[in-house]
Structures are given as structure tokens and as C-alpha cells.
């Protein structure tokens, strides 16, 4: 269970690592970097092996297209999977618009991909009331994703109320960290 979650997390994380590696100039004898770099560089890398130290090849950074920049940004944003809420509130703050757009983009492009939205609360109030409040937080995020074009069938929700706090300190900071929805792929 946990393992497959981690695997999925890595599937999302790896392309982002590759992207950040792009754009740096590379030298021919830097074998490992050439292997993981983009296809234009791997053509150069195929010339390796014959007299590799005799020449040094440099590349010019290709300006990313608007689309590529957007994708890079979305992929970076998708590393963040948590939306935080105010006390006793389930409104999704406008500051999470880009974050949720990034997730929606990924889900729209991968219609077989599903996501579980968890709703959580801080430890104030009663456990069962918090289950209800947590569900409203999870559904608020789910509705947001649907409004951005994600199919309802791709999204499921679960409320854990106050049963799975991230921060056990019971301070105002701790409470704020626990009032959250988490997108779990």
C-alpha cells in the first residue's frame, strides 16, 4: 500500500528532476549526465568512446516554450499536495489556485490517473464533528478540481477528521498545519 504510494510519488517527482537538470551545459565525458539528459544531448553522447578526450563539445541553452515553462511550473507545483484551511472553515483560499490547476492539468492529461483527497482537522471540537468538517474540506478541493475540468470518476474523498494530525503540539501553529486537505495519488 504504502510502497505503491511512494512509487507513484516518485513517478511524479522524477520528470521534475530531469527538467531541472536540463539547460545546464554538458561536456562529452560527463557520461552519467548525458545519459539522463534530453534526446538532443544523447545524440552527442553517442559519439562518445572514440577519443573522447580530444574534443570538448558545448551546447547552447534552448529557450523553453511557454508551454514547457508552464509544464515545468506545474510539475514543481505538484510536489506540493496540501491545501490548508482556516479554523472551522472549508473555503479553498485563492492562493491555492495555481497549485490545484497544476494537479488538475496532470489529471486531465492522464484520465486513468485517480486521486484521493483526504480532509483533516485540528484537534479542537469533537471527533465526529471534525469528521464532518474534514469531509467538507476534502469535497471543497474535489469540487475545485472538477470545476477545472477533472472528471468526477478520477476523484475520491475521505475524511480523517482529527484522527491523523501532522503536528501533535496542540499549539496554534500545530492546529494550522493539521487543518488541511491532502491530494494522494
Amino acid at each position: 500500500m504504502q510502497f505503491s504510494k511512494i512509487t507513484k510519488g516518485l513517478l511524479i517527482a522524477i520528470p521534475a528532476l530531469v527538467l531541472t537538470a536540463c539547460g545546464s551545459s554538458s561536456v562529452v565525458n560527463d557520461e552519467s549526465k548525458a545519459a539522463t539528459n534530453s534526446s538532443s544531448e544523447s545524440v552527442q553522447a553517442s559519439g562518445m568512446g572514440q577519443n573522447a578526450s580530444a574534443v570538448e563539445v558545448a551546447t547552447v541553452e534552448k529557450a523553453p516554450t511557454v508551454e514547457e515553462m508552464q509544464q515545468a511550473k506545474f510539475e514543481a507545483l505538484r510536489q506540493e499536495q496540501t491545501v490548508y484551511f482556516d479554523f472551522d472553515d472549508s473555503k479553498v483560499d485563492a492562493k491555492y489556485l495555481e497549485l490545484l490547476q497544476a494537479h488538475a492539468d496532470y489529471l486531465i492529461k492522464n484520465p486513468n490517473q485517480t486521486v484521493m483527497v483526504e480532509g483533516h482537522c485540528d484537534e479542537r471540537g469533537t471527533p465526529e464533528y471534525n469528521i464532518a468538517l474534514g469531509e467538507r474540506r476534502a469535497k471543497a478541493v474535489a469540487t475545485y478540481l472538477q470545476n477545472l475540468g477533472v472528471m468526477q470518476s478520477q476523484i475520491s474523498t475521505v475524511s480523517y477528521g482529527e484522527e491523523k494530525p501532522l503536528d501533535l503540539s496542540r499549539t496554534q501553529d500545530g492546529f494550522a498545519k493539521n487543518r488541511r486537505s491532502v491530494l494522494v495519488y
Binding site: M1, M116, E123, R124, G125, T126, P127, E128, Y129, I131, A132, L133, E135, R136, T157, V158, S159, Y160, G161, E163, K164, L168, S169, R170
Partner: protein, 450 residues
């Protein structure tokens, strides 16, 4: 499907009668000054067997924890009588002691003991001198009406604790006129992040003794509720990464899935007649109250509102259900009549009221109140509307009332940990049940044990 079952087995380990180390021990934090002085004299035993425990110590602890009595320390006792004939009423009366409990333990047969006790009204004994003549069926006979109760019973060594609580119940009832609730259990959930199975459903005697784990899970467990015959618990489990309600027989370990609808399956509460569960389901869009007939699984929806409705709790007569609702803006307590379906708002005090339940005598509504951001256990007298905050602890939740209505057990914070605590219904007596490790939550006080 098979995969789901395998996952369920991975996440839950069912344990029947697995003994756990007793980890709750009651610490009285407030309110023994106003208590009535009584003496529990150590029971005399002249045999050679090793007794499992001192019955008199259990009784004294029970009466102390009721908040209504304070017991005289052994070294302050003027004498150590074992039966009524030996009691010097005056010497106890001079210490303001109202009642003295004396007793003996004798060998009966191998492994079995004869336990006898007498509960003596010291003041009455002083007045009558130990006997009084009374007219019974037209004849003048000698009676000992200062002896409030006296019994004999033959028990095995392992029944000592149970019988001690039984004597406490009898003494409490004779002295207060109210049934004792010492022979009861509590169910609760512990959370230990260091453990492989983080969440455990546990039952123990009301005083924390005889702790037994009923279920261990890697995912949250919530809201245990006792069946009226105290043989089963309904609870919420997330073992399949969603909420589901199960019923588990505490003696056989048999588990039965009760509801597994889309969304919330929460807040199960057994009806007083034992045939139904009130619960919260969000299958139709948002949390609403339902009643589930356990025999034929018929589901009846009770509420219909776009706001949150949850935390149903039956009135003692089973005619209405108290619940929490946000329909008025902030969460407040309401009742729904099961015949007319009429809904009535019950609370107006503070910023929020949650987790309501009615005391067994129908006189009070007990709840979690939020005032100025603080969460405390509170009660409202239904007839007068008088509202009283009972606790001073932090982040109080999950109040559960003893079957005799004398005491409330709830969960609260002590230091950095979540612990169970007790408060008497008048708010004067307070105690804490600190846990050896981890967090303790969701207490549920059992009905009277048969």
C-alpha cells in the same frame, strides 16, 4: 475483492481477551473536601492462602472516586472490628464517621472463600445501642436497624475484584439512595505512534483495571458505543482507508460490518432497546442522521438539511435523539422527535456546543461547550435552562455519562498528551486517568454489567 480482504487483514489484528498491562490509574485532582466520611475496615482473614487483593482497598478507592465519600486512613481508625458486635459506635461517631463497613474472609473450599460484610450506620447504632424493639406483624421483636446491609457470598480468587466492586455498589446505594456504577467498564481508543498498530480499541474496568485490547489497527478507530446489554461495541474503523461501522462482540470477538456507504459512516449510538443504531451517513451528499434497524437493516433518514448534522445520542426513553447541527450557523445541539420528526434547538450558550447526551434521569444535557475558544464539558438543566461549565481542563471532548448519572468520563489534555478524566455531574469532583504511554481518547462508559 480478495485483495481488499488481504489488505483488511494486514491492517487489523483481532485479539480476543488479550490482556494488556493496566495503564490507567486514577489521580483525584479536586473535590474531596465536601465528601462524607466513611470507614472501610480491612476484612479479617485467618486462613493461609495468598489472597489476590485486599477487598477493603478496592471498596475504599471506589467510594473515594465517587466524589461523595472520603475514607478514613487505616492508621486513624480507633479500632479494627470485623463484625457489628465489636463496633464501638461512639468512637467512630466522634470522628464524624457516618458509616463503617466491616467484614471477614474465610476459607471455604480449595480456591474458594466465604466473604461476609456488614455496613453499619454509626449514628443509628449509637442511638439504639445496637438493638431496637420493633413491631413486626403484630409482634414485638428485636431488630438491628443500624445494620444497613449484610451479606455472605462464596467466591473464587479471581472474582475478588468483581465482588469488591459489587460491595461498593451496595454500600453506595444504601448510603446515597442512588445505584452504584462501580461494576461497569469503559471502552476507549489509544494512539501510539511508535507501535506497528498505532490504534487500539480497549476495554477496562471503570477504574482502569483489567485492560484488554479488543482490536489493533494501523488506521484510525473511533466512537465506540456499548450495546445496552454491555456485550457488544459498535465503532468506526478506517482499516479499508474509508470509514465503516462494525459491531464486535466483546466476549467472542465476532465482528460484523454494519455500514460501508460512500462518504461518512460515523457516530454509531445504540438505542436503549438494543435493536437499532443511530448513526451519521453522508451518502446523499452531506452528513445526515439515520436510524438503522439491526435485525432487518432498514435505514430511516431523520434529518434533511444542507448543514452538518451529526453526533446522534438517544434520550433514555428512546423517544428522541439529541444531535449536533450547524443549521443555525455555529454548531449547536438540537433534538429530533422520532415520532413527529419535529426538530428543536436545545442550546444557546457560548460559541458552539457539540457531542450532547441526556443524563439517565432525563434532567440534564451534557455536552462539549466552546466559550472564548476554550472547550470544556458543560451541562444544561433541561427544566430550568441553567447552564454550568463543569471542567477546567484543556481541549475536552467525547463526554460519556456513567449509567447512574453520577459521573462523566471524557478525554482531555494533560501536559502534551491526551488522557481520560472524570468529573462528577455537580462539577465538584475531578480526577484524571493518566496513561502509561500514548494518547487515550473516545471513552465510552458501559451500561450496568449483568
Amino acid at each position: 475483492m480478495i485483495q481488499k480482504i488481504t489488505i483488511a487483514l494486514m491492517f487489523v489484528s483481532l485479539l480476543i481477551s488479550q490482556a494488556a498491562k493496566a495503564s490507567l490509574e486514577i489521580v483525584i485532582t479536586e473535590g474531596i473536601d465536601s465528601a462524607r466520611p466513611v470507614a472501610i475496615v480491612p476484612f479479617k482473614y485467618e486462613g493461609t492462602a495468598e489472597l489476590p487483593l485486599r477487598i477493603s482497598e478496592i471498596i475504599a478507592a471506589d467510594l473515594m472516586r465517587s466524589g461523595k465519600f472520603k475514607t478514613i486512613a487505616i492508621d486513624e481508625m480507633p479500632q479494627m472490628p470485623t463484625k457489628d458486635d465489636e463496633v464501638d459506635y461512639g468512637s467512630w461517631a466522634s470522628l464524624d464517621v457516618e458509616a463503617v463497613l466491616v467484614g471477614t474472609i474465610q476459607d471455604h473450599s480449595p480456591g474458594r472463600f466465604l466473604v461476609s460484610f456488614e455496613l453499619i450506620d454509626v449514628l443509628r447504632g449509637q442511638i439504639t445501642g445496637g438493638t431496637v424493639q420493633a413491631l413486626v406483624n403484630g409482634k414485638l421483636v428485636e431488630t438491628k436497624d443500624h445494620i444497613l446491609d449484610n451479606r455472605q457470598v462464596t467466591i473464587a480468587a479471581k472474582q475478588f475484584r468483581r465482588y469488591a466492586h459489587r460491595i461498593s455498589d451496595l454500600a453506595y446505594e444504601k448510603l446515597t439512595g442512588e445505584r452504584g456504577a462501580f461494576l461497569t467498564k469503559i471502552a476507549y481508543v489509544t494512539v501510539n505512534h511508535g507501535d506497528d498498530f498505532v490504534y487500539k480499541l480497549i476495554v477496562a474496568d471503570y477504574d482502569g483495571a483489567n485492560e484488554q485490547i479488543l482490536l489493533r489497527s494501523k488506521e484510525p478507530l473511533m466512537s465506540p458505543s456499548w450495546s445496552p446489554d454491555a456485550s457488544k461495541l459498535a465503532y468506526v474503523t478506517f482499516e479499508n482507508n474509508r470509514s465503516q461501522i462494525y459491531v464486535q462482540d466483546i466476549y467472542t470477538g465476532t465482528r460484523q460490518l454494519v455500514t460501508s456507504y460512500e462518504g461518512i459512516n460515523g457516530a454509531p449510538q445504540w438505542s436503549p432497546d438494543g435493536n437499532k443504531l443511530a448513526l451519521t451517513l453522508s451518502k446523499d451528499g452531506n452528513p445526515e442522521l439515520y436510524v438503522l434497524e439491526l435485525t432487518n437493516k432498514t435505514l430511516t433518514r431523520l434529518t434533511r438539511h444542507r448543514a452538518i448534522d451529526t453526533e446522534p445520542s438517544w434520550s433514555p426513553d428512546g423517544k428522541y435523539i439529541v444531535f449536533s447541527s450547524e443549521r443555525g450557523g455555529n454548531a449547536q445541539l438540537y433534538s429530533v422527535n422520532l415520532d413527529s420528526k419535529r426538530i428543536k434547538r436545545l442550546t444557546f450558550d457560548g460559541e458552539m456546543n457539540l457531542g450532547g447526551s441526556i443524563t439517565p434521569d432525563n434532567n440534564h444535557l451534557v455536552m462539549v461547550n466552546r466559550t472564548q475558544g476554550n472547550y470544556h464539558i458543560a451541562k444544561k438543566e433541561l427544566a430550568s435552562g441553567n447552564f454550568q461549565i463543569l471542567t477546567k481542563t484543556r481541549l475536552d471532548e467525547s463526554p460519556s455519562i456513567a449509567p447512574n448519572g453520577s459521573m462523566i468520563i471524557y478525554s482531555t489534555m494533560h501536559g502534551n498528551g491526551q488522557v481520560l478524566a472524570l468529573v462528577s455531574i455537580d462539577g465538584r469532583f475531578k480526577a484524571r486517568l493518566p496513561a502509561a504511554s500514548g494518547q487515550v481518547k473516545s471513552p465510552a462508559w458501559s451500561p450496568y454489567l449483568k
